[in-house]
């Protein structure tokens, strides 16, 4: 199934994508984390709601970030050229805050700093999960979505400091969507992840040549902290898919199994 968050008439709700648009599931779940926490127990009530619930056309709703209510987001630091391949997949906590969904606008902070897009696949977890064995990583995963992270070029960092992860947590920094696809509908997570940037003077695109080992990431991060239902791990971006950000761009990340996440970029 493909779950979404949407806004209609000023009301935030949870829904599922269908051929007719968005099936309203607000009668059985108040948020995505709530849905995931009770998913196994919902059973017939979810099936009934999906079959009989009100359906809104896609052009009558605004899809919002499906991870905006997540308890936490951990982003894997994939681009660490100084680290050996044996180094653990360290990640940092990123503010979810006022993240945006597909079709919305990401506003870059004012100032002279340069930013780069980082298109990523994100794993949405069941919970609580802790100390997951690598071979059992699928037991911990509810589904997948797309995430567009941004990175600031390290021009103003103190000497010896090569990363400042707080720069990735500005308001609207976390774009995600368009939906969360349940794990059973994703054969090989991340295969085919592509990004396209279209602006006034350019169009560039690339595909991620390979995704990091999901089993190792989930095993490592769950050895550090407990993840709760709806928590998110973003798997990081390959250097081939990093493009400089510019106001006026439209950035689209896409994955055949998930769909397209498209945001406008403004200053």
């Amino acid at each position: 199934m493909r779950f979404v968050c949407f806004q209609r008439d000023g009301q935030d709700s949870v829904g599922a994508l269908s051929d007719g648009g968005v099936v309203d599931l607000s009668g059985i779940a108040t948020s995505i984390p709530d849905l995931i926490a009770r998913y196994e127990r919902l059973g017939d009530s979810l099936a009934s709601a999906h079959a009989d619930g009100p359906v809104w056309s896609l052009d009558s709703v605004e899809l919002t970030s499906p991870i905006a209510q997540a308890g936490k987001l951990v982003c894997v630091m994939r681009n660490r050229p100084t680290e050996s391949d044996d180094a653990p997949p360290f990640g940092y906590i990123k503010a979810i805050g006022n993240g945006v969904g597909t079709g919305a606008t990401m506003r870059l902070p004012s100032g002279d700093a340069a930013y780069f897009y980082e298109p990523e696949i994100a794993v949405v977890l069941k919970g609580p999960v802790r100390d997951v064995e690598p071979e059992r990583w699928r037991d911990a995963v509810f589904g997948f979505t797309l995430l567009l992270d941004v990175a600031r070029a390290p021009v103003e960092f103190p000497p010896g400091v090569t990363r400042e992860n707080w720069t990735k947590s500005f308001d609207t920094a976390c774009a995600a969507g368009p939906c969360i696809v349940t794990a059973d509908e994703v054969a090989v997570p991340g295969q085919g992840l592509a990004v396209e940037v279209a602006g006034a003077a350019r169009t560039v695109s690339a595909a991620d040549p390979g995704q990091p080992a999901l089993a190792a990431i989930i095993a490592f991060l769950t050895s550090v902290m407990t993840f709760h239902a709806g928590d998110v791990i973003a798997l990081g971006a390959h250097e081939d898919t990093l493009f400089a950000a510019a106001p006026g761009d439209t950035v689209t990340a896409s994955l055949p199994d998930i769909g397209r996440l498209s945001v406008r970029v403004a200053a």
Binding site: I93, G97, E164, M225
Partner: protein, 314 residues
């Protein structure tokens, strides 16, 4: 006013800490869907309910502390911001820009709880960092330094437990992941409302490990002071009521946490936060203040033939 969350017979409710114990405030602010939401509701509606809460504080019947369990007053903030290298360390050094990292919001524990060291041998040690916590009001966005008080609801004690990679370098270096293990963020014992602390940059902070004094510093040693922290954070992060800024620590008193220890953080005007330490692997480290070559402890610097101060934390 000292606000707490207390648990009795399985129910977590808001309360006011007074001399005889805890006065329940649930008749004014009812428990919400979660303990964090409960304290957020207190913060968001404080002005509206101040008079009623003050009446409870002076006339309510307190339940003795040995009959309730104090929980962390902010069990799960949406955002915990922690300052990096924010103290002069009582030395003359070059100024450094203000930097912060985000700490796992699920790592919070409360008074009387236990820091559990992870069963991983990769970090070489786990250390305490005693810090002043600034509790934010709601609707905080781009607050100017001259208006910082409008964004601050109150103050609390925070222990920023930290896994070390090498020396006092944070494990996982620029990820700061070593600060985010489960149970690595004791908070409490209460939130003191801002009207009771006129100058957050003049508070004595002391930390004891099994009775041995480790941290002993004044928040006047902060390089970037509370008004700037509030202004800087509100300009860069989406913040809400009950979010927390930990102001950083003076690292001169850093030391390892070890199995079986009981630690106490006391901040003037706030109170004492006490937690225990458990290590499933029962490791041991040299007891006392960390005296490595990268320590900012003045005696350690002297022993290693180094000038006072230190390098930017990593």
């Amino acid at each position: 006013m000292r606000l707490v969350l207390s648990e009795c017979d399985g129910v977590v409710e808001p309360g006011i800490l007074v001399e005889g114990g805890v006065v329940s405030a649930s008749t004014v602010v009812a428990p919400q869907s979660s303990p964090q939401r409960t304290m957020q509701a207190v913060i968001e509606r404080f002005d509206e309910h101040r008079e009623a809460l003050e009446k409870l504080a002076t006339g309510g019947a307190p339940v003795p502390l040995d009959q309730v369990k104090l929980r962390a007053p902010l069990p799960r903030p949406r955002t915990i911001l922690c300052c990096i290298g924010n103290f002069w360390e009582n030395a003359v050094r070059d100024p450094m820009p203000l930097r912060m990292y985000l700490k796992n919001p699920d790592s919070v524990i409360g008074p009387g709880d236990t820091v559990v060291l992870p069963s991983t041998r990769d970090p070489w040690a786990f250390m305490h960092e005693a810090e002043l916590g600034v509790v934010l009001c709601g609707g905080v966005e781009k607050v100017g330094e001259d208006d910082w008080r409008s964004a601050v609801f109150g103050y609390t004690c925070v222990i920023d437990v930290s896994a070390r990679g090498q020396g006092r370098t944070s494990w996982g270096e620029f990820s700061w992941l070593g600060k985010s293990f489960d149970t690595f963020c004791p908070v409490g014992p209460c939130i003191v409302t801002a009207d009771e602390i006129s100058e957050p940059n003049d508070l004595r902070v002391r930390f004891w490990d099994d009775g041995q004094l480790r941290h002993d510093y004044n928040t006047s040693d902060m390089e970037h002071r509370v008004p700037e922290l509030v202004s800087w954070a509100s300009a860069r992060f989406p913040l809400q009521a009950g979010d927390l800024i930990a102001c950083g620590t003076n690292h001169e008193g850093l030391g390892p946490l070890q199995d079986g220890e009981r630690v106490e953080l006391a901040i003037d005007g706030i109170g004492s936060l006490r937690v225990a330490v458990d290590d499933p692997l029962q490791r041991s480290w040299e007891r006392g203040v960390y005296m490595g070559a990268d320590s900012t402890n003045h005696e350690a610097r002297r022993i290693h033939g180094l000038p006072a101060g230190g390098d930017a934390p990593r």
